[in-house]
Point group: none
Chain length 212, copies 4
DNA sequence: AATGAATGAGATTTCATTCAT
DNA sequence: CATGAATGAAATCTCATTCAT
């Protein structure tokens, strides 16, 4: 596991390599892949360097501390999330797109790893919190519009609760998958999709039934 | 983070200390507390030893490798889970008790940590998978009985899916909490409790409308 | 140069090896020798280990951080200083013995190195300050008695000033020596010894004239 | 601490930047300030560069190796010393001026740092030795004239010894100051000034007494 | 004259584990 | 049971320096 960055190193200038250097991107790619495939604990200077075919100290040239590297990975991912989220919400079947989005395996795996990481790295934790709340709000707003006159009873389950539930379930499925558990997953997915289908099927009116 | 057990050490005889030694228990308690409070990465031979007031190598007397220690923590927790799960399902308001059980903070935190750990420790991963599936099946069976003729339409959402959803949401809430995110949590909890209330309120009958 | 100890490591348990272990002593000896011969900057885990024929991490077993090592060297030296200082002051010709003591090459070299080190290591600096003042007071008290009715005019140059001057000159000679400068040293030493001779020659009385 | 120059780099052409470039001067200023404020160990390519707002490799353009940088700092300081020394000796109260000169804090701090540095850098050591002896000779000559017929008995304490003592005491005061020791300093200074006063007060003759 | 990129070498420290007692 | 001692392996980070541009 990446040993904690000694405090001494913390207040140095960050982000040394040019923002768009090809190598910088390569390093981020490799780190992300490592996190998804083997967990954040597999991310060490050496390992990343080996993965990209660079020498270890060069990693530090681009990302002075390992935290900087993690933060960079996180920020890049967050950027993409916002774009893809908007795309999903603007699509034909926004609900379904949203679900597909939050249950996208590799993206969610990364999110889960960052969350685990955040337990030990205050900086990550803080950034993650801000971003999570931002995303959540965005989703809730979108849902508010989408479900305004749908079958769902927003007194029973307001949009923001809905996003919490969706995201939560998605994350759990991914986590379990990564340890090889899949019992009930299919049923859960089916169930969710059925509900979504019902919701989307009743874009307009007064269906008395189907409440969630 | 607990460095990976060197392969050299792998084929040792396991479980040296007597199964019920008081110290063994102390070590397990300390380890569990560490995992819940600071994450699994805080668990190192030294740290645990310091916590219990013992010398590091003694930990190895009871748990030859750190993996053994984790496995033992896990197994002990799993035992308790089964007992408490049974108690919950046999209680007055089994649904509500079940929800309280799966969303119990400290227990779930431990579960999440073990899950994160499992990413890097095959042995843990394997044990975890077996146990998770066992618990799930048990829950599903119980739900099957409980909801047989309740309001819920088991075609729409079969019991096993329900346990996946409940457990997933609970875990997500705990994880987010640990990084300081709580936006929407209250709403989500309220929503779930409302649904549970509805289900329990209709112990008998023939509600034609399927609500989830 | 020994890189600064990361803060993280600071509040761990100190002094691990038994106080009187033979190896502990060996390590201290080697460190002290290194400091005297090549300066404090030559003290690195590796170097010390090589010098004693041990493996580098073992140094950390006895002295968790390099600061701990320096502090231990310093404390041991300080102990000896007090003993030898008392012996000197109790001897036949206390003034001369004192001068010989403060101008003892290897001891003073160590002191100078510790002083240089203290510039960068707050802990050392603090300990050093305390000890220096303690020694100084002890010397001044002794001089007070010794010179009570000697030729020296304590209004012109009180005992405490005298110790400052003696120690200062001695240190300067040693420092210069270590860079190969010796011009005027012999004359300075001779001069000091002549003054000391004069002072000791007039143990009693009546020099009306104040000489320094 | 400035890591030792790898031997590989040793036989390069030296002094690349123009002797009087403004940036060269800036670099020297920054280095000197660093040495005085934080000790020579704080002098690293990066640190100096940051201080002047330049990029690290540019330092190497002006001073191929770090040793070259130190030597340049040293030489520039030495130049100034000679000029100020001459001024002091030509002043109204040359003795007092000399004392003020040798006990000037920031200059002496730099000298002490260079001395400490010299322990580890042969080149510095050598240059330092030459310069120290030159300065010493110059001071001794001046004192010889100044004290020719003063109260001081040059048989008891020849001029060259006197410079050694003065410089030594001054350096010691500065060093102790930097670690926070000041016990007895005031008394020592007072004592020295009293002696200087006495000496200057007797520009001419016939005091047979008052020897130092 | 200046700089982004790269790198070899090395420093400190942590950790799991073994071993002899 | 318990523990002091020892150690291989690795992780993070720093630094002086080179090189191509």
């Amino acid at each position: 596991m990446p040993r904690q960055t000694p405090d001494k190193a913390r207040n140095m200038t960050r982000r040394v390599g040019a923002e768009n250097s090809a190598k910088r991107t390569l390093i981020l790619d490799a780190t992300e892949k490592l996190m998804v495939d083997e967990g954040y604990a597999a991310v060490t200077t050496r390992r990343v360097a080996a993965e990209v075919g660079l020498k270890a100290p060069l990693i530090h040239y681009y990302f002075p501390t390992t935290d900087d590297l993690f933060v960079a990975v996180y920020r890049r991912a967050a950027e993409q999330v916002f774009q893809r989220l908007d795309a999903a919400l603007a699509s034909e079947q926004p609900l379904r797109a949203l679900w597909e989005f939050v249950s996208d395996t590799s993206r969610t795996t990364l999110a889960v790893e960052l969350m685990a990481l955040a337990n030990h790295r205050k900086i990550i934790g803080h950034e993650l919190a801000i971003y999570t709340e931002r995303t959540r709000r965005r989703q809730a707003e979108a849902l508010e519009v989408l479900l305004k006159d749908s079958a769902i009873d927003s007194a029973l389950c307001p949009p923001i609760a809905l996003t919490v539930l969706m995201v939560g379930v998605a994350r759990a499925l991914v986590m379990e998958n990564s340890v090889g558990v899949s019992l009930g997953h299919e049923e859960a997915r089916a169930c969710i999709e059925r509900v979504l289908g019902q919701l989307e099927a009743t874009p307009g009116k007064r269906t008395r039934r189907s409440k969630m």
